[in-house]
C-alpha cells in the first residue's frame, strides 16, 4: 500500500493526467415561476495536481456546477451533459449507488459552513472514520489511528483528544480543518471546495488556504475551488473559469486571466479587487452596476450586455459562442481579444497615471 502510493506520487508530475472532464453541463431546477436554467453548457477540466478556480457572483451557477459533479443536486433538478467524466469514467450513466461509491472516496467535497456541516450529535472521530468504513475494509483501531494522523496533518494539535469531542466543542477554524480532514480520509483524486473559507475570520482564512495548497501538493490531487473572491483565486489558481449567469464567460491560465483579461465582466471583477502596486492608494475600487438577469427561461444574446460598458447593438440578438484565443485561453464576447486587451490596458494605465 505504501509502495503503491509512493509510485503514484512519483509518476504524477511527469504527465498531467486529467481527472475531471466537464463538457456542456446543463442544470435545470423546477421553481414555482418556471424552470430555472442554473448552469448553461459549462465546460472545463481539472488535472491531477492542478487547482482550477471557478469564480463568479452568487447565483451564477458555480455551486450548482459543483453539486452537479458530485451528484448532490437538490430533488427535482435535472442534469444533462455532453460529457461528465471522472478519471476517464463516465458519471452520467452511473446509478446513485455507483455514484455513492465514488463520493467520499476518490471524489470528495469541502463545504462552506463549518458550523453546520458537522453532525452535532456524533463525535469528530465517529464522523471522520465514516468514509473509511464505507469505502475501505478497515478495522476500528486502524481507522481511528488514520483519523488521528490526518487530523494532525491538517494542523490540529492534541488530535487524539479531539477525536472524542463533539463539533460544538470546537472553534469555527478547527471545525473547518476537521471538514477538510474528512474530505481527505480516503486520499481523493479530486477535491471540490465550495467557498471553504468564506465563513471564517481573515487570519484563519489565510491559514486554511495555505493548508489546502500544501495538502494538494502532498496528495497530488486535483482541486476545484469555488469562490466569489478573486483575491483567493490569485493566490491559489493554476487555471481560472469565470462564470456569469450560468455560463462560462472566460477561462484560461491564471496568469492570462489576471494580466490579459478579455471579457468585460472579468475586467469588471478585477477592478473590484485591490492589487498591490496597481491600485491607487486611497482611490476607489470598481463596482459593476446593474443586476444579474433572471435565469428562468432563455436568455437572448449576451447575458452580461445590460451591465456591459462596451455593449453593442449586436449583443442583444446574437448567440455568442466561446472563442478560442490561444488554445488555453477562451472568452465569450463579440469584441476581439486585442480590442478587449487594449481596453484593459488603457484602463489600468489610467489608474496608474492618476496614482
Amino acid at each position: 500500500m505504501i509502495d503503491a502510493s509512493a509510485t503514484a506520487v512519483a509518476v504524477k508530475p511527469l504527465r498531467a493526467q486529467t481527472v475531471l472532464e466537464v463538457k456542456g453541463l446543463d442544470v435545470r431546477l423546477p421553481t414555482q415561476s418556471g424552470i430555472l436554467h442554473a448552469v448553461r453548457g459549462v465546460s472545463f477540466d481539472v488535472a491531477l495536481g492542478e487547482t482550477v478556480c471557478v469564480v463568479g457572483e452568487s447565483g451564477c451557477g458555480k455551486s450548482m456546477t459543483s453539486l452537479a459533479i458530485m451528484g448532490l443536486l437538490p430533488n427535482g433538478a435535472v442534469r444533462t451533459a455532453d460529457r461528465l467524466a471522472f478519471s476517464g469514467k463516465d458519471l452520467t450513466g452511473l446509478t446513485e449507488r455507483q455514484m455513492s461509491d465514488l463520493r467520499g472516496d476518490k471524489l470528495s467535497m469541502i463545504f462552506q459552513e463549518p458550523m453546520t456541516t458537522l453532525n452535532p450529535v456524533y463525535t469528530i472521530g465517529d464522523q471522520l472514520t465514516e468514509p473509511l468504513f464505507r469505502h475501505r475494509r478497515i478495522g476500528r483501531q486502524e481507522a481511528y489511528e488514520k483519523a488521528e494522523a490526518i487530523l494532525e496533518r491538517v494542523g490540529i494539535s492534541g488530535a487524539k483528544r479531539r477525536l472524542g469531542q463533539y463539533p460544538h466543542q470546537l472553534s469555527g477554524g478547527l471545525r473547518q480543518r476537521v471538514v477538510i480532514a474528512m474530505a481527505l480520509m480516503c486520499e481523493p483524486q479530486l477535491v471540490i471546495a465550495d467557498e471553504p473559507t468564506t465563513a471564517l475570520d481573515v487570519t484563519i482564512q489565510a491559514q486554511i488556504l495555505h493548508l489546502l495548497k500544501q495538502l494538494q501538493r502532498e496528495f497530488g490531487m486535483g482541486m476545484l475551488f469555488i469562490t466569489h473572491d478573486l483575491g483567493l483565486v490569485a493566490r491559489l489558481a493554476d487555471r481560472v473559469v469565470v462564470m456569469y449567469a450560468g455560463q462560462v464567460v472566460e477561462s484560461g491560465p491564471a496568469k492570462d486571466i489576471f494580466e490579459r483579461p478579455v471579457h468585460p465582466y472579468t475586467q469588471g471583477l478585477l477592478r473590484c479587487i485591490p492589487i498591490p502596486g496597481r491600485t491607487e492608494r486611497g482611490g476607489r475600487l470598481g463596482a459593476i452596476p446593474g443586476m444579474v438577469p433572471s435565469l428562468i427561461g432563455g436568455i437572448e444574446g449576451c447575458s452580461f450586455r445590460s451591465r456591459c460598458p462596451a455593449a453593442l447593438p449586436r449583443c442583444a440578438n446574437e448567440t455568442i459562442e466561446l472563442q478560442d484565443l490561444n488554445g488555453s485561453h477562451s472568452y465569450r464576447c463579440v469584441l476581439d481579444a486585442a480590442a478587449g486587451n487594449d481596453a484593459w490596458k488603457r484602463n489600468a494605465g489610467s489608474m496608474e497615471k492618476t496614482a
Binding site: 458530485m70 467520499g104 452535532p120 450529535v121 460544538h168 474528512m182
Partner: protein, 305 residues
C-alpha cells in the same frame, strides 16, 4: 450534568408538593369530608360526630401537615369505601394501568416514528398525504367513540376480541390500540416535521458527500437529530395516556387505576381519588425527568452546560 439532573429532581419534588396541596385543598375545602362519609340521609348530629371522630374539625393547615407527614411514610389514609389503606387499594390496581399505558405507548411509538420518517422523507407523496389524513382523523376521533366502534366491529361483529375485563392479554389489545390511536398523530407529525427539517440540513449533505448509504444517512444521521424534540413530547403523551386510561378502562371495565378513579369519584371516596392524582403526577414528574436525561444523552450540546 449531575447538577442539571439534581436541579430537575428538586423541581420535581416542589411540583409534587404543589400538586398535593392543590388536591388536598380541593378534596377538603370544596367538599365536606364528614358529610361525604356520613352519606346522603345522615342527620346533622351524625355528621358532627363523624367530624369529631375523624378530626375534620381541626384547622385545615394542621390536617394538611398531618396528611403530608403520613404521605412521606407512604401512608395516604384509608379508603372511605373499602376501609383499608389507600396505598394498598391503588397499588394493586397499578399493574393493569401501567401495562395498558406501556403497551399503548409502544404501539404509538412503533406506528408514529416509522410513519413520520417515511412521510418526512417524501413530503407530498401519497404516503405522506395518507399519514397526514390518518393524523387528522386520529386527532378528531374521540377516544371513547373510537372505543365503542372498536367494540362493535371487533368484539360484537367479528368476535375476535373480548368486550371487557382485564384478565388476559387479549383484553388489552383493543384498549391499548384505542389509547395509542389518540397519541399517535401528535408524535407522527412531530417526527415528520423534524425529519423534513433535518434532511435539508448541511450535515446530511455532508453525509451524502461521504458516500454513505441512504439507510445509514436516515437512521444514523437524520433520525437522532429529528427525534430530539420528540422525547419530551413523548413523555408528556405517556402521562396523558395514564390520564386517558380513566375513559378507556371505564369503557372496557378493566380493573386498573383509571377505573378505580372513576368508581371512587362516583362513590366520593376522596382519599383514593387524591392518591390517584398524586400517583399520576408522580409518574409524570419521573417521566419528564427521564426525558430530560434521555435528551442529554442523545444531544451532547445539552450535556456540556
Amino acid at each position: 450534568m449531575l447538577v442539571f439532573a439534581l436541579k430537575r429532581f428538586v423541581v420535581g419534588i416542589l411540583v409534587m408538593l404543589a400538586v398535593s396541596t392543590i388536591t388536598f385543598t380541593l378534596t377538603n375545602v370544596a367538599a365536606d369530608p364528614a358529610r361525604t362519609i356520613a352519606g346522603e340521609g345522615a342527620s346533622a348530629a351524625d355528621v358532627e360526630a363523624i367530624r369529631e371522630a375523624y378530626g375534620f374539625d381541626r384547622p385545615i393547615i394542621v390536617r394538611y401537615g398531618e396528611w403530608l407527614g403520613g404521605a412521606l411514610r407512604a401512608d395516604l389514609g384509608d379508603s372511605y369505601r373499602q376501609r383499608r389503606p389507600v396505598v394498598d387499594v391503588v397499588m394493586e390496581r397499578l399493574p393493569v394501568t401501567m401495562s395498558l399505558g406501556g403497551l399503548a405507548f409502544a404501539i404509538a411509538i412503533l406506528a408514529a416514528i416509522p410513519l413520520g420518517i417515511i412521510a418526512g422523507l417524501r413530503p407530498n407523496s401519497w404516503i405522506d398525504r395518507a399519514s397526514l389524513t390518518f393524523a387528522l382523523i386520529g386527532q378528531a376521533m374521540p377516544t371513547f367513540w373510537f372505543a365503542l366502534l372498536g367494540i362493535v366491529v371487533f368484539s360484537v361483529t367479528l368476535k375476535w376480541l373480548p368486550v371487557s375485563g382485564s384478565s388476559s392479554l387479549s383484553h388489552f389489545v383493543l384498549p391499548a390500540v384505542v389509547l395509542a390511536y389518540y397519541a399517535t398523530p401528535t408524535l407522527m407529525r412531530l417526527t415528520r416535521a423534524g425529519m423534513i427539517e433535518v434532511m435539508q440540513s448541511d450535515y446530511i449533505r455532508t453525509a451524502k458527500a461521504k458516500g454513505l448509504r441512504t439507510g445509514k444517512i436516515v437512521l444514523k444521521h437524520a433520525l437522532r437529530n429529528a427525534i430530539l424534540p420528540l422525547v419530551s413530547v413523548a413523555a408528556v403523551q405517556f402521562g396523558f395516556m395514564l390520564g386517558g386510561s380513566v375513559v378507556v378502562e371505564t369503557i372496557f371495565a378493566m380493573r386498573g387505576v383509571g377505573y378505580l378513579a372513576w368508581e371512587s369519584i362516583t362513590y366520593s371516596d376522596l382519599p383514593v381519588v387524591q392518591a390517584i392524582v398524586l400517583t399520576i403526577a408522580a409518574i409524570y414528574v419521573v417521566l419528564t425527568l427521564a426525558a430530560d436525561i434521555m435528551n442529554a444523552w442523545l444531544d451532547p450540546r445539552l450535556r456540556s452546560n
